[in-house]
């Protein structure tokens, strides 16, 4: 070491702020901090000045004013007389709905495509390669516009389903009717609905509660059953056959409840020029979900493929050498290692899908950007507040999703020593 003299004995000189490594980091940080704060102050100052010039104030009170516009697609009761706040919540719920459905479907499509791309069937793997490359290398906006054009230009109008030799046929056993205005799907109906159950002062649908209780109970029994089987295996070396009990545990209560409440599907039927009875899904929603699913599915397919390929063949061979069969090999050796590679990028794809759902602007689906960042912003003229609120909400959503990812990463991290 060149420092022969202990550093504390050197008298402090001003030049040490720059040339001494102990103080330099402090100097740099102070300069950066002051610089960033000055820049921020400059921005805030400009904003205040500009707002004053335009005679605008900065307040969120517009959120409690009457919205006065209709939203065609809403999960909660909403009328034009409600507040902007409620309109924003409607938009947020629509964003969440489209993101959730998109994530689920994209995962299914992506896993299927990723696995099929690795299949030893030449034709299928080549077709999946073409699907992945085409969808990954073309902007999402194009897919949204193309699918929208298919829905509005190619699909039949509802009235084309009329008559004995109709121009259009319903698909999936006469239960779904895609039309150029909406997609009619069956509605779930409960015949003998039990009365609402009051939980913590709010009435909740009784049938829903019954199903939830049945599922939780079945899950608890199943966990106990698994523990018992494992204990038995540890004691005797033989695992009792329990899979049929597990299946029955979940199937029997569900079937019983469905029969008890008379749950059934009401297919859409044509009445006059429109479908009634079922649910008429807004085409904006269907188009957006389809486009997001196919686009994100292509990315997920690549992630799944990379994850499966990342587990070396030696792992399978070693598991076989230990005497494991194909299924436990997959469940105990391959999947845990592949998932460690797959899940983090998968979650970031979910994040991307959620953010990409703001492209709803291209199909006219009333998401958060369309209500809070669109009509509300234009009506009230409060760009600053509406944009800040909207960005804040998206930010919170993303941070929540990344928090889930970090939790997962922490759980599956290799224990290093």
């Amino acid at each position: 070491m060149t420092h022969l003299q202990p550093a504390e004995h050197q008298p402090f000189r001003l030049s040490m702020l720059i040339y001494d490594r102990r103080y330099r980091s402090l100097t740099i940080q102070t300069v950066v901090f002051i610089g960033v704060m000055l820049f921020a102050a400059w921005l805030v100052n400009n904003t205040i000045e500009n707002l004053a010039r335009l005679g605008k104030t900065f307040s969120f009170s517009f959120l409690w004013a009457r919205a006065g516009y209709d939203i065609p697609f809403s999960l909660i009761p909403y009328a034009a007389t409600d507040t902007h706040m409620r309109a924003a919540v409607v938009g947020l719920l629509n964003t969440l709905l489209v993101s959730f459905v998109g994530c689920v479907l994209a995962t299914i499509v992506g896993v299927l495509a990723g696995v099929l791309r690795l299949s030893n069937n030449w034709l299928v793997s080549k077709m999946m390669t073409v699907y992945v490359e085409i969808f990954r290398n073309v902007p999402l906006l194009l897919w949204i516009l193309v699918i929208l054009a298919i829905f509005t230009d190619v699909l039949p109008a509802p009235r084309d389903y009329r008559g004995d030799d109709a121009a259009a046929q319903m698909i999936l056993f006469d239960s779904v009717a895609p039309t150029n205005r909406y997609t009619a799907i069956p509605r779930l109906a409960v015949e003998h609905a039990p009365g609402p159950v009051v939980i913590a002062g709010t009435p909740v649908n009784g049938a829903l509660v019954a199903f939830a209780v049945a599922l939780v109970a079945a899950w608890l029994v199943w966990k106990w059953l698994r523990g018992w089987a494992r204990a038995r295996q540890n004691r005797t070396g033989r695992r009792p056959v329990t899979w049929w009990i597990s299946v029955l545990l979940f199937v029997v209560p569900l079937v019983a409840l469905i029969n008890l409440f008379g749950v059934h599907l009401i297919p859409p039927t044509l009445a006059g020029f429109n479908f009634t009875g079922g649910v008429n899904l807004d085409n904006g929603f269907v188009v957006l979900v389809l486009a997001l699913t196919l686009y994100t599915g292509a990315f997920i397919a690549e992630i799944v493929r990379a994850g499966i390929l990342s587990v070396s063949r030696g792992q399978t061979e070693a598991a076989f050498a230990l005497g494991l069969r194909a299924r436990p090999t997959m469940g105990l050796v391959i999947l845990p290692q592949a998932l460690r590679v797959i899940v983090p990028p998968l979650i970031s794809q979910f994040l991307n899908l959620t953010k990409n759902s703001s492209l709803a602007i291209a199909v006219g689906y009333p998401d958060l950007r369309a209500t809070l960042g669109g009509t509300t912003l234009n009506q009230t003229g409060r760009e600053m507040e509406a944009m800040m609120l909207m960005m804040g909400i998206y930010l919170v959503l993303s941070l929540l999703i990344s928090a889930v990812m970090n939790l997962y990463n922490a759980r599956v991290r290799l224990k290093e020593r």
């Binding site: 400009n46 069937n121 030449w122 299928v124 902007p139 194009l142 602007i361 960005m391 993303s398």
Partner: protein
């Protein structure tokens, strides 16, 4: 012994049998089909389903493509041709819209007399890239340089560039090629100068505007070199000198120089940009600026200065947490609030700033992954050699980290390029929506839905697929280990 053996073995073959050909089931097409398509029940079912899907796609799309018409000047003419050739009710692709509006798809509303400017800028871009991207293979570099320079000249001539400008292009290209070949390090300087040249070519105006701004950078570098022995103070001095030049002198200098030596091109409004010119301008600008910004942000996030790190984390997480579309709306609605009253600058510039910030946050995360993947020993070894922070990063850490993160970096590039289409929502004429809608709004091309989508999708596919394949090639070439 041998006699005994001869008695027990009645026949010993003295020569080898000729090699028999494999059985019929293990040969040729039959074998290939059996192993690749029908190796088991599941595979057979998959093959049949796949064939069915292919047949369905073929049945639905082939007639439309077979009936395509390229020589037509309006949708009505197309329909007449369909009816005449394939009978009443036949439908097909009316690709005449691409032929007729080709220039508009490429250049938007840029005046036709100036088409040579974006064209030559695009070709020269490859000359600028050659010393960076095509360093190892001389043959590859020559192909790129030759195609780019011939393209710059020939396309400019074809799109009607005036003679003096053509001479300038020819001389400039020859000099540039000579520099690339004989002084590769100096060619890097030309690469750094190129953005200013491109801005001047695209937007026009006096050349002295971009030139004096470039001059500020040169002054900064000179001051930094002169003060080099003062360490960190040299950086501060260089920045201050450049800032002073830009703040006080560059405007006047540009005006004076313009008076003494007028050199200018007709000025172009940003509104006239459109089509792939717009997409490529925004894409290339954001890509080139986001890489250095991303490196700086990644280093800041990895640094052990808590305040710097905190700012980097806040910036990156904020940008990555919001959709690009909201940032574009900030650019179009809010940016004027944040700037001094009365400032009103170009919408394309605002969009480029936002797309750059967006891309740099993603870039930072990709590069941070590369930095994190380096073993700790690399840092310690660099420290043991006595390198300071910047030398360590420049010579040891970043070359390795960037190499590891090439797939991610190119992935971000592709994402940025695809995202440039979102500018349609702030009223710019991107090739996918706004421009296509404009063309459809005309009387001739009302109802031309699919053809513009297919055309722009095709171009985007070629560019993005090309980038991803190039990154794979680069990854293979830079691979130094045998993992």
């Amino acid at each position: 012994m041998s006699e005994l053996h001869a008695e027990t073995v009645p026949f010993v073959r003295g020569t080898m049998l000729p090699q028999a050909s494999p059985p019929a089931a293990e040969r040729g097409l039959y074998r290939w089909l059996r192993t690749n398509l029908f190796s088991g029940p599941l595979n057979t079912v998959l093959t049949i389903v796949a064939l069915f899907v292919l047949w369905w796609l073929f049945q639905h799309f082939y007639p439309w493509i077979r009936h395509s018409v390229w020589n037509a000047s309006s949708m009505a003419e197309c329909r007449a041709i369909f009816a005449e050739r394939w009978g009443e009710g036949a439908a097909g692709g009316c690709f005449g819209v691409i032929r007729e509006r080709w220039n508009q798809f490429l250049f938007g509303f840029y005046p036709p007399s100036e088409y040579w400017r974006p064209t030559s800028a695009f070709c020269l871009l490859f000359l600028a890239l050659a010393p960076v991207l095509f360093t190892e293979s001389r043959q590859m570099r020559w192909i790129v340089v030759a195609v780019a320079s011939v393209g710059a000249f020939a396309l400019s001539m074809l799109s009607g560039a005036p003679a003096p400008e053509l001479v300038c292009i020819a001389v400039g290209v020859v000099v540039w090629i000579a520099v690339i070949e004989y002084a590769p390090r100096a060619a890097l300087v030309l690469t750094l100068v190129f953005p200013f040249l491109a801005v001047w070519l695209l937007w026009g105006g006096s050349i002295w505007g971009p030139a004096t701004i470039l001059g500020g950078a040169v002054i900064g570098v000179v001051v930094w070199r002169l003060l080099a022995r003062f360490g960190i103070l040299a950086v501060v001095g260089g920045l201050a000198a450049a800032a002073l030049w830009w703040w006080f002198l560059s405007g006047d200098a540009a005006a004076d120089l313009q008076r003494m030596l007028p050199l200018s091109l007709p000025r172009m409004e940003s509104r006239s940009f459109g089509g792939f010119l717009l997409a490529i301008t925004i894409g290339v600008a954001a890509i080139t600026m986001s890489l250095p910004l991303g490196v700086i942000l990644a280093l800041a996030r990895q640094s052990d200065l808590p305040i710097v790190k905190a700012f980097a984390v806040i910036f990156i997480e904020f940008i990555r947490g919001v959709p690009l579309i909201t940032l574009l709306f900030v650019a179009s609605l809010l940016l004027n609030y944040f700037l001094p009253p009365g400032t009103n600058f170009d919408i394309i510039l605002r969009v480029i700033i936002m797309v750059t910030l967006f891309a740099s946050a993603y870039m930072a995360e990709v590069i941070r992954g590369g930095l994190a993947s380096l073993p700790r020993g690399q840092y310690e070894a660099a420290g043991a050699l006595g390198l300071n922070y910047w030398k360590m990063q420049r010579l040891i850490i970043l070359p390795q980290a960037l190499k590891v993160s090439i797939p991610g970096i190119v992935g971000t590039f592709i994402g940025v390029f695809k995202d440039t289409t979102l500018v349609t929502f702030v009223g710019l004429f991107d090739p996918l929506k706004q421009l296509a809608d404009t063309i459809r709004a005309t009387f001739e091309w009302k109802g031309a839905y699919w053809e513009p989508y297919i055309f722009s999708g095709f171009i985007f596919f070629i560019l993005c697929f090309g980038m991803s394949r190039y990154s794979m090639h680069l990854e293979q070439r830079l691979k130094r280990d045998h993992r």
